[in-house]
Each structure stands twice: as C-alpha cells, then as structure tokens.
Symmetry: C2
DNA sequence: TGAATAGTGTCTTTCAGACAATATGCC
DNA sequence: GGCATATTGTCTGAAAGACACTATTCA
C-alpha cells in the first residue's frame, strides 16, 4: 500500500467528503494612536451579533490570494496593498456548522485611504482597536492575536510600516507607527539614526505645516515592495 | 447582501463544490554534511516516477496537525518531534487531477534516530539532499525551497537546531549543523561565545571519545520546547 | 517672544567578527 | 612525542541605547 502524495485517496478525489475552505483577512490600520482591524458584525447564526473577521468561502477554482484580495476590496474598496498569508487554522470544531478550514491573510492600510461607508460590501463593518477586543465569533480572537504578533515581529526587520502610511509622511508619523505597534516609546534621535541607516526612505521637497510650529519635511519610501533586512 | 465569514455561501455549505485539502510534510535531517529531506518516488500518474514530498489528503474530521503527524510517523516511525506549519499552497492548477490545496508542514529530526526501512509506510521513501534536487512532482520544488528558507531564517534566532541533534551532542556537532544550514563556515570561538551567551545548552558530565585526540564534552539543550530569541 | 514640533551629535555599552595558542587524550 | 580535535581570550569596528539642546514657524 503506497500512501504517497494524494495517492490512495486521490483515486477517488470526487468521492471523499471534503472540508470547506475559507479565507479570512485581517485588515490592519492605525487610527487615533491605536492599531485597529476591520471587523464585521454577524447577522446570522452561529455567533449572531458577534464581531468577526471578514472572510469568505473559496470556490473550487479560485486562487487563495485572489479570494483574499476580493474580501479586502469588497470590504474596503482597496486593491493594491501588501497582503501576506498568515496561517491556516484547521481545528475540526472551529465552525459549528461543519468543517471549515480557514487560510488567514493580513493586509496593512493607511487609515485615511479607507472609507468603509463607500466600500462595495462594508455593511456592518468597522474598524475596531485590537486592544481589549470582546469575544469574537469562531476562533477569531486567536487569529487576531496571531496576526498582531506577526506584524509586531515583522516591523523590526522589514519595511511593512510603509503599508500603514500615506505616500508622503513625516518622520514623526513613522515613529508613531513603530511606537504603537511595538507598544513602547522610542527615542527620536535614535529612531531617526536607525531609519537613516536602513536607507528605506528619502525626503521629498514638500513640507507639512500644521499649528504654530516648525513644519516637518515629508518623506517617502524608496521601495513600495516588501524589503526584509537582517 | 451580507458576505461576512462563511455566510452567503455557508447556507449551503454542503452544496458547493469544495477543493480537496492535503497536508505535505517536509522531513528534514542532516546526514553526511548535507541537509536532506524525505522524498517518495511516485508510482502512479500524474508525475509517475518523480520524487515528491510525503503527504496525504485529510479527511473531513481530521485536524491538520494530526494529519501531518500521521504522515510523519507513517514515513519515519517517529512521533515526538518539532513540527511547524509552513505555508498553504493553493494555486488552482497545482494538481492536474483537480483542485487540491496543500498545507505544508516541516519537521526536523536527528538522522540517527530514523530507520526508514522500519517505518510503517516508507516504501519508495528515502532521504535526499536538498542541494541540486531534480524536478519534483507538482509544485514540490517550490515547497522545498520555501521550507529551506524558513529553516535557514529560524536557526539564527531560535533553538530549532535541537531537533536535528541527538539528546547529547558535542559543540562541534552543533556548529556543524549551523554551518550546513547557513551554508557558510563559522569561527569556532565566536560560535561558542554566542551559544554560551544564549544560554540554551548546558554541559553534561559525559564526554565523547573517538580517535586519538582529546574527548569532547557532551552538551544537551536546556529546553526541548521551541525558544525564540531576538 | 512664547508655544510647539522639527531636527541634530556625543558618549557609552553591547554585540559581531577577525584572529592563534594551549589542552588533552590516544597511539 | 606526534597527531587530532577540544577549548579558551583579546582586540576592533559597528550598532544600539542613553541623553539635551538648537531651529523654525506661527500666533
């Protein structure tokens, strides 16, 4: 008996009972000094009235990432943002209706680029701070926690913060992003030294004026693609 | 129309056509100075006679990690080793027979603990060096590459090397593991300094004697669990 | 000129990397 | 004594962290 890759059972792929597969998309943004995610209030059982992470069942011929991008654009109207696969959650009892695996993704977006009220399918959707979340539907608290940890770990050695900022930004805004995600205050001089050493951003010729004080130089990222550094 | 988590389509979960889901397990070990993985020669179409990564279709009520552990123990006879989810590969065309998602896992084991010839289902299975692999079945080259990168990245800031070593080992063996995975030679003094600073291993009272030279102190890991350090 | 944020440099400590001599056990 | 691997410390350069003052704009 040879049980190699889809072998024994693969002969009757169409006969065996299969799990359903969904994608779940953590849509992160920063607003009012907090890391937030898009959550949707459920209007059906199970977990009626609980908040849940947006997602959808994938269809038989749909690519996973395409499915995740569709969820993202349906909920936010946004297309071109960084999207990364997070983890696949497969506990057989995670959905009381039956077996549903979910492949979780996360996206990062600048808060001012999103207007949920204008998105194609954002009814009952809103940004919620990840601090002190209530009990969510299904195993969604676990998924959020996992996603927050990934973002936290990754911001220290990549340029993913760029997803959370507009095209042009002040260094103080960038620092604030790091502080919120890492959950601690950073020294302004050391932060700027480090950012300069990483060579990820460059100044534009524009400045940002607000209030009765010195204007700030606006910077932009040199690369829009993900950069991982050691 | 509310498309929240498995909502619209979830109403008829049993009617929609679902992808099959498999697990794929990269079983790494180090032998003769090379990083190797267990591969299985396929005896059926598609990809007849190609090498492939061991795996299996999961059944409707089977937990993902349980399925991966079953593949691992069927192929190697080994149960208690570190197993980590790697990534989920979902290209709709990755299997010519139909839609099959695969959730890839990887395991690390000490080579001397495995005797494939005695495993429950190791027919056509063997350890193969990850260097210069031929074209494998399906998208398995991509999966191996992804796994190798993960192991490489992780060895620098965790104790996963411990999975590749026997209970007790020489520091020179540990160093060799690092050199093989990182693909470069390390300075013995600096390596030992770093390992000492990490405080992950401790000397036993045993020594290893071989050949006409000074015996080496045997060490063991303080924790069998995964430890991640910054 | 007062208020508020922008912007900058030095010192110290820590960590990584280059580098070589001595120790021990077996034959 | 010869051989083979084990074991150990110093110096240097780079990066991280502590720390405070000046610059600029606007009201």
């Amino acid at each position: 008996m040879y049980t190699t890759i889809p072998e024994t059972k693969a002969r009757n792929l169409k006969e065996i009972e299969k799990p359903a597969v969904s994608v779940t998309v953590l849509i992160f943004s920063i607003n009012k000094g907090k890391l937030e995610i898009v959550l949707v209030k459920r209007v059906r059982t199970p977990f009626m009235d609980f908040l849940s992470i947006p997602g959808d069942i994938i269809s038989i011929d749909q690519d996973l990432e395409d499915a995740a991008r569709k969820v993202l654009s349906d909920k936010t109207g946004i297309h071109d943002v960084y999207l990364e696969q997070l983890y696949t959650f497969g506990d057989p009892r995670r959905d009381p209706r039956g077996r549903v695996l979910t492949v979780a993704y996360f996206a990062l977006l600048p808060h001012n680029s999103v207007d949920l009220s204008k998105a194609p399918d954002a009814l009952h959707a809103s940004f919620v701070s990840v601090d002190g979340l209530p009990k969510l539907a299904f195993d969604h608290n676990q998924i959020v926690d996992y996603g927050v940890e990934r973002v936290k770990g990754k911001i220290e050695y990549s340029n993913i913060a760029h997803g959370l900022l507009p095209e042009k930004f002040r260094l103080s805004e960038l620092q604030k992003i790091y502080e919120i995600i890492l959950g601690k205050n950073l020294d302004k001089r050391n932060f700027r030294k480090k950012i300069a050493a990483l060579n990820l951003v460059e100044p534009t010729k524009e400045v940002y004026r607000e209030g009765n004080h010195r204007p700030a130089t606006l910077y932009k990222f040199k690369s829009k693609d993900l950069v991982i550094y050691d």
